[in-house]
């Protein structure tokens, strides 16, 4: 087993993620947990466990990113935009567009030929178009994550959700249910609405540049398909999509 040389930790609003990498950027160990409100305590404990798992020394360099990044005693602290770009470029080795749908925010990052961020866009202050949005509405519909794809495939029509504000969208869904509308059509509509919202952030994607996806929502194949259909482009999901930010943070300390 190669030697661990860097740790990257990405503290998001929903999940706490970290990876240990070797000098080539290969992931040797990883950890994903729900985010604890006591960020520092969780990070100290989880990083100690991760170091033990990977046999890493106590003084190994740590790169931190995500909303909780300032709470980490790290060698380098960078924003999630820069880290996602680094993590994505490590995989793609070429200029690309990265769509990252996380718990609290959605990012579209344009990555240049050297892996640099050439431009980026993020959702507004609210949770419109984020993983949290999906989570809340699916929770209201009592739809399990595993069933999403099968439910969407079972219907042709979709009922679009016009509001992208999580609170108003939930009210809208409640009204639709009260009208006796089909839950599966609402689920399909929800994904279509979200993909439209995300692609509006991405702006003009007509250039011949590959599009990749990361973040926890990339694990939802229905969302990837909705984005593909709406954009008319191929959306490639990066390996370990939820760990791209943590990987970028780790790469920053090499």
């Amino acid at each position: 087993m190669s030697k661990p040389v860097g740790i990257g930790v990405d503290i998001g609003s929903t999940t706490w993620k970290a990876v240990v990498i070797d000098k080539d950027g290969k992931i040797l160990a990883k950890k994903i947990e729900s985010s604890d409100p006591l960020i520092e305590r969780q990070t100290n404990r989880a990083l100690a466990e991760l170091r033990e798992m990977a046999g890493a020394p106590d003084d190994i360099h740590v790169g931190a990113t995500g909303y909780g990044r300032k709470q980490v005693k790290a060698t380098k602290v960078l924003t999630e935009i820069t880290c996602h770009a680094k993590g994505a470029f490590y995989n793609t080795k070429s200029s690309c567009v990265l769509i990252d749908i996380g718990g609290q925010d959605t990012k579209v990052i344009y990555i240049g030929e050297r892996g640099e961020v050439t431009d980026f866009a993020m959702n507004d202050k609210c949770a419109a178009g984020t993983g949290r949005f999906l989570e809340v509405i699916l929770g209201r519909l009592k739809v399990d994550f595993e069933d999403i794809e099968q439910r969407i495939n079972s219907v042709e029509k979709s009922i679009l959700i016009s509001s992208t504000c999580t609170v108003f969208a939930e009210s809208e869904v409640v009204s639709l249910l009260a009208q006796g509308k089909d839950v599966n059509q609402i689920v399909k509509g929800l994904h279509d609405s979200l993909s439209t919202r995300v692609l509006a952030l991405a702006g003009n994607l007509t250039a011949n540049i590959p599009i990749y996806m990361s973040g926890g929502v990339a694990h939802n194949p229905a969302m990837v398909r909705a984005l593909t259909t709406t954009s008319g482009k191929t959306i490639n999901v990066l390996p370990e999509p939820q760990l791209i930010g943590a990987l970028g943070a780790a790469l920053s300390v090499l």
Binding site: Y67, L78, T79, E80, I81, T82, K86, D105, E116, V117, T118, D119, F120, M122, D124, K125, S252
Partner: protein, 439 residues
Amino acid sequence: MIKRRVQYELAKRVVGPFITSLDQWKSKQRQKKRKPRASEFGPPLQTIGKLKEIMTKHYLEGRYADGAVPVAWVTSGFPSEILRPFDFHVVYPENHAAVCAARKQVPQISEPIEMQGFSRDLCSYARTDMGNALITNTPVGRLPKPDLLCCCTNICQTVMYWYRWLADYYNVPLILIDTPFIYGAMKDHHIEYISDQLEELMVIAERVSKKHIDREVYTNILNLAGEGCQLWGECLETGQAKPSPWTGFDTFFHIAPIVAIRGTEECNAYYRMLRDELKDRISKGIGGIKNEQYRLLWDNLPMWFNVAEFATMFAEKGFNFVCATYSNAWAEAKDLLTPEDPFGSCAEAYARVYLNRDMKNRLETMKEMATAFDVDGAVLHSDRSCKPYSVGQIDVKRKFAEDLGIKSIVLEADHGDQRLYSKEQGETRLQAFMESFSE
């Protein structure tokens, strides 16, 4: 009337200078006791003391102005030069609202007006000003009640409704100077239309002030105003030096005299002093920040409630705002105000302001600034309170990238109301923007 006049003159000639001297003495004492702190900034500008003196005196005079001299409230784009020959004490409610915002007092001041049904989406300057009328207690003590209200539509249309509310509340005359929006070149009929309104303004100003205009005095004031804009422009141009001797955030504060006391010798003397100090700093290689690595352009008004915090965040990473379209707006009239045609030139100067011209002109101005100041990037503040200023920024961003290869970021915030700015998210975006230069 006589008692108020005595109070006013005392405030102007004795109390004002005394308070500012006392304030400066206290400040020096505090500095002596304080251990020097590590700072990302260059040494503070010496003229800041004079700036405080001028503005303290201005607001102190204002406290006793009503009843002593005629008082006019004007919008920032109003040709206030015309009012000075009538000895009006001129108040800029926007300047005052910026002071309230810098003290983070906009939410509490605008609350009474929001309770009356005015939306929070309305300009925070307007809300602060109307709210201030209801609470009559502000960071500067009090503003004198107006005898005359003057607004000009060259900065936005909101001023019209805002000043109508003030006219109704204070029951005083309102003068509205309507400036047609200028697409492309300015036409003669534009100038004629505005000049006619300026002539009408004189009649009302004479009636309110009970004084006849001395056209020679007016021409002299116009000259002084033109020279003031020229001097302010010279101060701003020093930002082209590398490193820039000051920061864009400094310009936001040093702008106060050209806004509030434009057309006076005091204003011009101040800018001569500032210009000389800035040139001296250039000759000694003193920068506004210690380690200027990247140079940025700022578009739109500042976020008054966190200027210092913001400046520090950028300075720590070696970023300096070397120019700002907002500060530059008060230097634009430098060649336009001419004594040969005092009304026509005034009409032209005030119709040609940055916000009253088409997108093409705005973009060209910004590109010229970006090139002259050799900037690496731009922060475009999308100001919830100032939509006329914020519209088109997405296109500016695209054109900057395409035509100049300059990166920019559009930041959602507000110039006055901190409730409309999401600090954590805003800072993350700005930090990512800064990282995109170095990582």
